[in-house]
Amino acid sequence: MKKDYSFQKKNTLFFILLIFLIPILSYSQDNSVCLGCHDDPDISMEKNGKQIPLQVKKYTLPRSVHKDIKCIDCHKGYNPDEIPHKEGAQPVNCMISCHKEPFKNHLFHPRMMNANGMSGSVDINCKGCHRYHDVMSPKDPRNPMHFVNSTQFCGDCHKSQQQDHIQSEHYIEVQQNNPNAPTCVFCHQNPITKGYPLDRAQLKVNQEKLCLHCHLKGQGAQSQFAKTLVAYNQSVHGQAILRGNKNAAVCVDCHGSHKLQRASVPTSTINRFNIANLCGKCHKDVSMEYLQSTHGLALQKKSPDSPNCTYCHGEHNIQKLPDVPPRVFEETHIRHSTYVRNKMVFCIACHADAKLMAKYGIATVQKAHDWLPNKAVHWEAVRCVDCHSSYAPPNLSHLILPPEKTVKKCEQCHAKNSILITKLYKHEKRLSREKYGFINGTILSDAYVIGTTRNIVLDTISVIVFVLTIGGVLIHGSLRFLSKKKKGKM
């Protein structure tokens, strides 16, 4: 039997050809071929009158995240036999073949939405941050963009934010390699900055949600980070932001966006000595009044016991009632509910503490009101601030006066022409306009000091004069009628 060797011959020929073709086909794809020239530190080219170095170190690419990529995958259409390798060569565009949707991973730089990745400032240019051949994985701790290093990396451009952030509690956690510590990208990958096409109120809602995401373990559950945060949504600020008030304070407005420090740090915005200035950013008038008050002045002298805004108003609307010894209620015969209703409990908590008051040479609330007749009635009807604050517009209770300037004369309250009532009336009118707007607040205001025009003498005289007038008219009219009738008969 004759063997057919034609098939074997064909295969042998094919393999021989393949042995020659492989080097030919793979010649231009091998990075070592490119690096044969480009590893030379002297290699450069002239462009627009400038010498541009063209060296790529031998181990740069193999150590990068692009180690499996060939030079020509990015430098497409380059011919190694010709110099330059390509006519009209353009810079490498990462977004053409591989990274087609870069915005997904770069939400922290919202301007990148419309970027081409090739030109423009560093925040919209791939190479601005990722550089050239030494691109590293963001998970690689050697990467300057790794979360541990991001403060330094981003801070190259965002210097003031960097300075703030390195003083923050968040940065301390980052330094301790806490994987849950928020870094630049952790927060800024959310739509929280004005670079996003969102209205201010929505941005603030997003900011609030971002903070609460970590600081609150679900609705109504406090986390280890903020014990007083549970009822933030019920607070006046939380409610305002839910109503879409773009000026409502959210977390960062008080705590700062980057320099988030513990309250115990003296430079913290929420340090007890800085609270009045912090609240005064929005509540200017109140803050100014407070700072002039006896408490504000004491606080400025660094008195550790002087109450500040949050002492009465709470931190995140948590108004835990201060502890007042039961003895105080027994001595003064004031109902606990009255104290709570009138907010006097905040004053009493300190001012009934004999030890604390002795420290500052102040009489306790009981001793200071020995002179006051009908104490029980006064306690029920009059709040501490009614007598102890200036009653100067626009607010009634923040300029707490020293004892010598407080209301102490009976007629200051018990007279219809009292200066106190004048100020209260003015306050009510102003409040009405603030609440209902200028026109409605003016027309619909029911502010009126009942009885202010009453005077027993004037009232009596006016009734007599009125009766006489009506009587006079009736008599005169009757006489006219009678005389006319008489004349008619004649």
């Binding site: 517009p393 219809k416 022409n417 009292s418 200066i419 106190l420 009532i421 004048t422 100020k423 009336y425 003015k426 009118k429 102003r430 003016t442 027309i443 619909l444 205001s445 029911d446 009126y448 000091v449 009942i450 009885g451 202010t452 025009t453 009453r454 005077n455 004037l458 006016s462 004069v465 009125f466 007038t469 009506i470 008219v473 005169h476 009219g477 006489l479 006219r480 005389s483 006319k484 004349k487």
Partner: protein, 226 residues
């Protein structure tokens, strides 16, 4: 029979709006004054809103009245005449307390030159140029108390405003009763009321007629010549 067109449309409009607002203000004002002890006429919350709204409208109406008076020269009718002032007053008073019962004619007949008798002039002058501004200004200060002084002679600044406002209001309400009664002293009880609706003052005894078509009547020159 004399027929005089004395009350132009703008004046009648002002007069009746003013009359309506006076009634609202007096009713609500009395309700507010006595609101501490009783609920006269209107409940407190209705009275205060009614008083606020009517007060604002009265002020606007008063400004309208002042502008039109200056514009037309109508204010000259109100200026008391110095000549024979006391004698004229006595004559008019004598008529009201004596002459009217004896069927005597009015001592000062209404004419195009003299719309009002001397007593009317004095009263209207005082009301329109003193009492009305006083009640309007004090009313606005009560509405915007921040514009009122904090203290007046050691008293709260609002209280004197309130007392002046109430006192002037009382005198104005007395005036309204007197005004309505004295308006019955025309040729007939209703003739003056009718005149204030039609604009025509009709008086028996003369055959004369001057109407709005009469040359110069509504003209500025005519008022200037008064």
């Amino acid at each position: 029979m004399a027929k005089l067109y004395l009350y132009p449309v703008w004046l009648r409009l002002w007069h009746w709006v003013n009359a309506f607002l006076f009634i609202v203000l007096i009713t609500s004002g009395i309700s507010l004054h006595y609101s501490a002890t009783s609920s006269l006429f209107l409940p407190f919350n209705v009275a205060i809103v009614a008083h606020n709204i009517a007060g604002i409208l009265l002020s606007i109406n008063f400004v309208y009245y002042v502008i039109l008076n200056v514009e037309t020269g109508n204010y000259r009718y109100y200026l008391p005449t110095a000549k024979n002032f006391v004698r004229n007053m006595l004559l008019q008073t004598r008529y009201y307390v004596w002459g009217v019962f004896r069927g005597e004619p009015h001592p000062f007949e209404t004419s195009r030159k003299e719309k009002f008798n001397p007593l009317q002039k004095l009263t209207y002058f005082g009301i329109m140029f003193f009492m009305m501004p006083m009640i309007v200004v004090t009313g606005w200060l009560l509405m915007f108390p921040e514009l009122a002084p904090d203290e007046i002679a050691g008293m709260g600044g609002v209280w004197p405003m309130a007392v002046v406002h109430a006192a002037v209001g009382f005198f104005l309400s007395l005036f309204m009763f007197g005004h309505i009664y004295l308006a019955t002293h025309g040729d007939t009880v209703g003739s003056n009321f009718k005149a204030m609706f039609t604009g025509w003052h009709i008086h028996e005894g003369h055959d004369d007629e001057h109407g709005p078509d009469d040359q110069h009547f509504d003209d500025y020159d005519y008022y200037q010549s008064l």
